[in-house]
């Protein structure tokens, strides 16, 4: 067995912010007041917020200690399936922090921010080139806002041809955001069962597709880590009834430089820059969810759009069929800068990134399929899905194994998703992990499988190393305590 990287160490306790400090401290260097005090309308004034007063060293220790209770990609392998936890390059942070970017006011006249408009324009072109689609909006602030934008484009497209459609087809393996986004746009989501191969069957889609259905949302590769081999036939069935094909590109990291989405029959696609294009997840965001479309759907993209005339960039609102605006300004621009920086650093190595991501996932699949049940034994893309079927015999569940993996120094994979697989363990290593790290991960998982047989209680009580043991989620939900 390989030595594991997980170990215990000294961790500090740390109170809540308002349990520390002392009134009168400050951690902020306030500027001198060099103008006279002005009278105020007392009737409108309040007492101000009840925040604790702290000094700068208080703040530094507080957040440094809290950070030590976390693990991130910078700490170690973080194989969360469908989340693409790849390395977040440090240079991206430098670029987004440049004064002309960080301090830029969004409503500056175009002549005073040409470089930034140019960045938007060029990033749109780069994403079009990478996906195979024609036009791009960078406005959506995250994947699910990209999905909502896509659904609005579906709606606007059908309205423009004079009919309102009411339903959208969504495979049962889809991420929950898909039906939620469709509903938000007023569509009724209709579930499409996947076949025994874990992918869509064009005949089932054709049977469900009618002229009241706006189209389909497909995740490709899907959440089982499988390529939707029938995507073209599915797209044909949808197009035959006048519908559109939306692709959830959450898993696009598997196919850069390998698949042409337009050739797959996809009309609308969203990308997650915080997955495929290396921008940090930040403990839950911010992300960015650009939407790419075919030329025919370009008139419906959100406004404003950057246009280039005579080598000069300008905002344009002249798109009368546009769905409108999703964000007060232009989306999470600082995230766009990081993705742009990544693409320029990678160039055609993006294809290598996808190849290695898929190689890594298949390597794990081969390494573990003897000890964990593999519900779909086919070549996988960037992630592989196992279950706890073999370990349930010893009354050990997916959750127990996920928690135990923490003790070995790995963040757990995605668990209990997709919903169609009972006890799912979904592993996405990404291209950032080396063979040595993967060997360590495989070895840890094998060891956990042995422990399931020999000392199941060790797993039931896992994790043992982190600062806290398993948390009582039932108590949190029954008597919600959401602030102090």
């Amino acid at each position: 067995m390989m030595p594991t990287i997980g170990t215990s160490g000294l961790i500090f306790n740390e109170p809540l912010l308002w349990e520390m400090g002392a009134k009168g401290r400050t951690a902020f260097s306030l500027p001198a007041e060099d103008v006279p005090r002005a009278p105020v309308n007392e009737g409108l004034c309040g007492v101000g917020p009840d925040f604790p007063d702290l000094c700068e060293p208080d703040i530094v220790r507080h957040y440094t200690r809290l950070s030590q209770w976390n693990i991130g990609v910078d700490s170690g392998m973080y194989p969360l399936g469908s989340c693409t936890m790849k390395y977040n390059p440090k240079t991206n942070e430098r670029q987004a922090g440049l004064p002309g970017i960080a301090a830029a006011h969004p409503l500056l006249p175009a002549d005073h921010c040409q470089g930034l408009l140019g960045l938007i324009y060029k990033l749109e072109r780069l994403l079009a080139q990478i996906t195979g689609l024609d036009e791009v909006t960078l406005q959506p602030a995250a994947g699910s806002q990209g999905e909502l934008t896509g659904m609005m484009i579906f709606n606007a497209y059908h309205l423009a041809s004079g009919n309102r459609r009411t339903k959208v087809l969504i495979p049962d393996t889809a991420h929950g955001t898909n039906p939620a986004s469709a509903s938000l746009c007023g569509f009724k989501p209709v579930a499409v069962p996947s076949n025994d191969q874990g992918i869509l069957d064009a005949r089932i889609v054709a049977d469900l597709m009618d002229e009241d259905t706006a189209g389909i949302m497909v995740t490709n590769p899907n959440t089982l880590g499988l390529f939707e081999d029938n995507i073209n036939a599915v797209a044909d069935a949808v197009h035959a009834k006048g519908g559109l094909v939306y692709c959830d590109g959450a898993n696009f990291n598997a196919v850069m430089g390998i698949v042409d989405l337009a050739a797959c029959g996809v009309d609308v696609l969203h990308l997650n820059l915080h997955k495929t294009f290396s921008t940090p997840h930040g403990g839950g965001g911010p992300g960015a969810g650009p939407v790419c479309v075919t030329r025919d759907l370009a008139p419906f993209l959100p406004v404003p759009r950057v246009v280039k005339e005579n080598n000069r960039y300008e905002w344009s609102e002249s798109f009368p069929h546009s769905v409108g605006k999703l964000h007060a300004f232009y989306g999470n621009f600082g995230i766009l800068v990081r993705a742009y920086s990544y693409i320029l650093s990678m160039g055609d190595h993006l294809k290598s990134a996808s190849q290695f991501a898929v190689l890594n996932a298949n390597y794990i699949k081969e390494g573990l399929k003897a000890v964990f049940h593999l519900p779909y034994d086919r070549p996988c893309m960037h992630e592989c899905v196992f279950t706890d079927k073999y370990q349930r015999e010893y009354k050990v569940s997916t959750l127990d194994m996920a928690k135990r993996l923490m003790d070995y120094g790995f963040h757990p994979p995605t668990i209990h998703f997709p919903l169609v697989v009972s006890g799912a363990i979904m592993i996405e290593p990404t291209e950032s992990e080396s063979k040595q790290t993967l060997d360590g991960f495989v070895s840890a998982m094998q060891q956990i499988a042995r422990e399931a047989e020999t000392e199941p209680d060790r797993l039931h009580h896992a994790p043992h190393f982190p600062k806290l043991k398993r948390l009582d989620e039932t108590r949190a939900a029954r008597k919600p305590l959401l602030g102090g």
Binding site: A27, L108, A141, G143, P189, A328, G334, S341, H411, L481
Partner: protein, 444 residues
Amino acid sequence: MRYLPHTPEEVSAMLSAVGADNLDELFAHIPEVCRRNTPLGLPEPLSEWELDRHMDGLSGTTAIQPEYMVFMGAGSYDHLIPEVIKQLLQRGEIYTAYTPYQAEVSQGTLQIIYEYQTLVSRLLGLDVANASMYDGASALAEALLMAMRVTKRSKVAVSRAIHPLYRRVVQTYLEPAGFEIVELDYNTQGRTDLSALDDSENLAAVAVQSPNFFGCVEDMAAMEKAIHADAKTMLVATFTEPLAFGLYQSPGDLGADIACGEGQSLGLPRSFGGPGLGLFACRQAHIRNMPGRLAGQTVDLDGKRGFVLTLATREQHIRRGKATSNICTNQGLCATAAAMFMATLGGTGFRRLARINYDNAEYLKGELKKNGIAIAFETPTFNEFVIRLGEGSKRIYRQLMAKKIIAGLPLDKYYTELEDHYLICVTETSTKADLDILVKEVTA
């Protein structure tokens, strides 16, 4: 490529482990028609140093301080950001972590969110704040959708003194599902005119911004009374400048049912409009209709205090098509920055900073007035107000621009009736000397 660990030897060892002859074979099962037959054809990769030079070039074209004086706010504010926040945000354990689904290895993020929720609910004067929305505009749209869920009504009223770009986002969100939006005009005082409410019945919510887009503080007390004349109708209070609540009463104290708006002022750079932060808070009674994530306090098996994401059954990953929102990834790191900012200032500092903003704006307002520049609305403001430059205003504005002074935001693009009007913003980053220069140049 420095981000990719794979050596040729390792690749061949791994390929043989998976039973493939080469990398292409891993993709052999993908139908031919789906494949790309040509290389990506992207520009040659840049070295770290070439990239720096390229980005310096793009960044160098922007009009920023100190070369320019930018008196523009309108939803994006120039505030001081302590170095301590910038450095702490770069802790890899914080910024490279995912959403804290695995609580035992995410206690840092979870406690940060819990503290953020607490500070935001105290700032806005409401019971519960969520873990963030994308930005102020989508937070407002989601608040109106929430009000319609709570009241089971399908019509909302929105003040025209709300940020015009927010109103467009609201329209984009509400239109496809067929909800009705009524607009309330503003009066000569630059405040929302509530008389239009008399014609509207069955409203799920009335949305008002304070300080509003013109910088004017609304008469929320009167509005609250008028809006709650129908006990079911919810008062949705929005804002673009939360620092104002260091001086003025908070939305919750004024009777708002939902408070939502932009949190960029709380320690986030303007960054060309994003990433910002949607603040969102409501009353305890409505938490199950709330969009977005929530962190809650609980205990671990040993009884030690800890935090988890909770009330997840409202969310898309469980309730799918019936969720309270489709939001998943939010603005976590921005919320972290905001929590740090509020903690850095403390209650005492927050009030002081708010007062500096107010005093600076009042000084500028007074000096402009003294020098014959019309102030459009005689209503109390915070750090923004509208001036009327009168005839030749466009020429004056251009001339100032040539002198590297951006004298506010021209309002005619957003309100055709406000030709020659400019929205001026001044924060703690301007000194008296800066303000005196602006006055001198505008009146020159």
